[in-house]
Subunit: 343 residues, 3 copies
């Protein structure tokens, strides 16, 4: 067999570091496509001049481009035989990614726990994205449930890593030079600043986007994530292509511009759940909740912790979970992240 | 409310200058996408070497990329609560836009006239697109009918600007250095030059493109035009997404290559009407009429004034208006512009 | 008539050299789009750093981008009135194409043979793609059946060029500097090297992609191939848009990554047949057969000759031809090419 069968649960060992394939040089082409696929308008990622007025040398690529590129490379090694994507934790953006950078990914196995049915188990990896200078630009923990291939393979000693429920403000890394002292609200598209958002406040982002098959496939391929469930309509019994969860993340984040245009930079991912699958024809909308606020040492820069929820058509206002504690069927995504905002 | 409610008729004042949000740095990525979304083939915008043989330092971005980027930024401030896009006038391209340029837009309110029903009014703005050197690259007048929010707001003194029905040849700005003396017809794809087109001549551009939802949404987002009517299939009662009028402009202009490949640069927009809405599934075709010709002081360069009409399936040959003076239902666009052509 | 009617069979003369229109400067934008439209992951075309570790100055644009750009320009002059694309031969990639290069095409008529029905004939052209230094980056022979317009035009003396059934290893041009001595299997995504593939071995590439209208039109336009049969749903009697054969070539080549990730560079095209038409909604899969292997003088570099077959849903395993020698109806493409692989 010359094709890649993927790894099964019994193929992982604690401490293994997997160097993922296909490094990628990114350019203005990836940025243009990102802005064509999502209604992305955060000014720092759109204009070199705006970014320079915020102390950066130029406009970096969107944070989620970095995330998707790094994540996409892990799919053949981590989730080809996964039955469920269970969670994210301790994600941090450590360096901006610039046009011309070359990214690669590696993942360390940090947890393993076989399920009681003996047919699958949970695999925890810490994934790092590195640039051409071997600097870590992003790292995060992800855990997935992976099938066993040889059911008689012995269960490993269970190791479940202790993960922070949320990163604290002191964990956040502020990009070198970032300075919001001369921030231009008009060009950013939003008069509300860090001090105007209250913990507990919820924002309905109002706009909606109906998703087409061509769009989510173009986006997902752009990140070299080629899991067949996203592309092959003959693969699932129901003949439907499952939309890459990251597509919903980017769509919701872009929609959140309307009300959170000043939540410019994503610096941490505390957690996230893909609550229900998304399919072409769904109309995605988003709402946010302010979970926390914290000051930072950078001039004019505050940190805001946000819950970002993506829902589809038919969702009740601010839909999240039912009385049973389960996500409402119209909820697609529940994401918890830190962003940087002008004070 | 943190989200942008848009401006209503009573929010505009004569003389107001609105600085629109989200400046944008453009690159080869935007150009590649433009050429992927439209059958654009004008050689000056395709090849650095061809552009250099015409006296320019490199191939600029397509004129309509500049238009769409500048226009897209105005939507949240000008047309979010518009009920109709009424017209364009006095549009001029003043500087080429190059990869690496950063564009922003601002609009001055130059006219206001409340409708007799007291529920809406016409707003006239002169929009300017500026580059990172604060040079105006494009300006045009646009007027839209905007809803009132507070119906009891007093009507402003009516001001209707005097607008030229057409710019004259002396108004046109020729890009610095442009020289068609060594123009290569074979590489341009067209043997017919300025002198071969007669006033009154009509050209059927023959080719047609059937439009898909994914394509018009990708294009419209690329210009950061996020008006929900283009994206959210649940927004309109009929469940259909309205295609951004600029998508039809670009499609028709690109189709006009077949017969007008030498109408290289658009330098002025005299007027335009989006005659009927366009929806996914429509097959767009185009025809042109030569309205005028004028000489220019640039070597080898003539100016040609063209009517560009986009129609959909079922249109009669050279369809335009019925005997009642109304546009035929298959007519999508009626545009009046000046272009530069080799003599 | 100002529009291009295309050439008919009687318009070609042996020895004519047609300079095709619309030169094109390519950038990172074209690369990003290519990776968004196809599941392309060959590391040499994805990462500057990986390409540098293989002795190249940077990552070139995918070989098939060069092919499509060069081919697209020939359509208005060669195949606008073609009734069938009959074959390819003697294709060679002679120079890598880099972001920033400007490509143009020219074709020499090397064969003509009228059909016995007097209504059409076969035209053979040798097409060259040239860069801004007037270096040939690609050349290949293609022959098509073209309609006659004036049925009474006399038949030319038949000339059928002698074409090699396959290029031999000594015909292959290895890019200057290419060196696979320090090749990194993990980053390339494939442990199998040149010595691991046996002549006659067949590889099922497993993955499948269901094709959407928007995607094949975006791709085809990107190469400035505007043949209406690909874009206008009202053109064919059955209301279906025919997918550009090159879209299937790129899709199949990208799918072959899974099993042939180390077949990095395409250096020759020995032949190819578009066995059956492809339409939106089809799910494309691919398989390969090793036809030959040869050593090369470049350090660590072997050559492998591959048959690449694209099939659609319903195809039997390794489907090719029936007992009657005809292609099975699910076979879309049968391509014969040479690639370079680490030894």
């Amino acid at each position: 067999m010359k094709t890649n069968p993927g790894r099964f649960f019994e193929d992982y060992r604690i401490g293994d570091v997997i160097r993922h394939a296909v490094p990628r040089t990114v350019s203005g082409g990836e940025r243009a496509l990102y802005h064509a696929l999502y209604p992305a308008r955060h000014a720092l990622y759109s204009s070199d001049r705006f970014a320079q007025s915020c102390g950066l040398p130029a406009s970096p690529l969107d944070d989620l481009i970095a995330f998707h590129v790094v994540f996409g490379k892990t799919v053949p090694d981590v989730s080809l035989n996964a039955v469920a994507n269970l969670g994210y934790a301790e994600g941090r953006w450590l360096k901006p990614v610039w046009p011309g950078d070359t990214l690669r990914s590696e993942s360390e196995v940090i947890g393993l726990k076989e399920n009681s049915n003996g047919k699958s188990g949970n695999v925890y990896v810490r994934t790092r994205g590195l640039n051409q200078h071997d600097e870590v630009v992003l790292d995060y923990v992800r855990w997935v449930m992976v099938r066993k291939n040889r059911l008689d393979a012995p269960a490993p000693d269970p190791v479940v890593p202790e993960l922070k429920k949320s990163l604290s403000a002191s964990d956040l890394v502020i990009p070198e030079g970032l300075d919001f002292s001369d921030y231009d609200d008009a060009l950013a598209g939003e008069p509300h600043r860090w001090g105007d958002y209250e913990i507990g406040e919820k924002i309905d982002h109002v706009d909606g986007v109906t998703i087409e098959e061509a769009e989510h496939m173009i986006a997902t391929r752009l990140w070299q994530n080629t899991a067949k469930v996203h592309f092959d309509a003959t693969f699932r019994e129901d003949g439907r292509r499952l939309i890459y969860g990251g597509h919903v993340i980017s769509m919701a984040r872009a929609l959140s511009f309307n009300g959170l245009a000043n939540a410019q930079m994503i610096v941490a991912l505390n957690g996230g759940a893909h609550a229900n699958p998304c399919f072409a024809g769904d109309t995605v909308k988003a709402w946010s909740e302010v979970l926390d606020r914290a000051d930072t040492p950078a001039p004019g820069v505050g940190a805001i912790r946000l819950r970002l929820v993506a829902v589809k058509q038919g969702a009740a206002p601010f839909a999240l979970k039912g009385e049973d504690g389960k996500y409402a069927p119209e909820v697609l995504l529940d994401l918890d992240y830190w962003a940087l905002m002008p004070k």
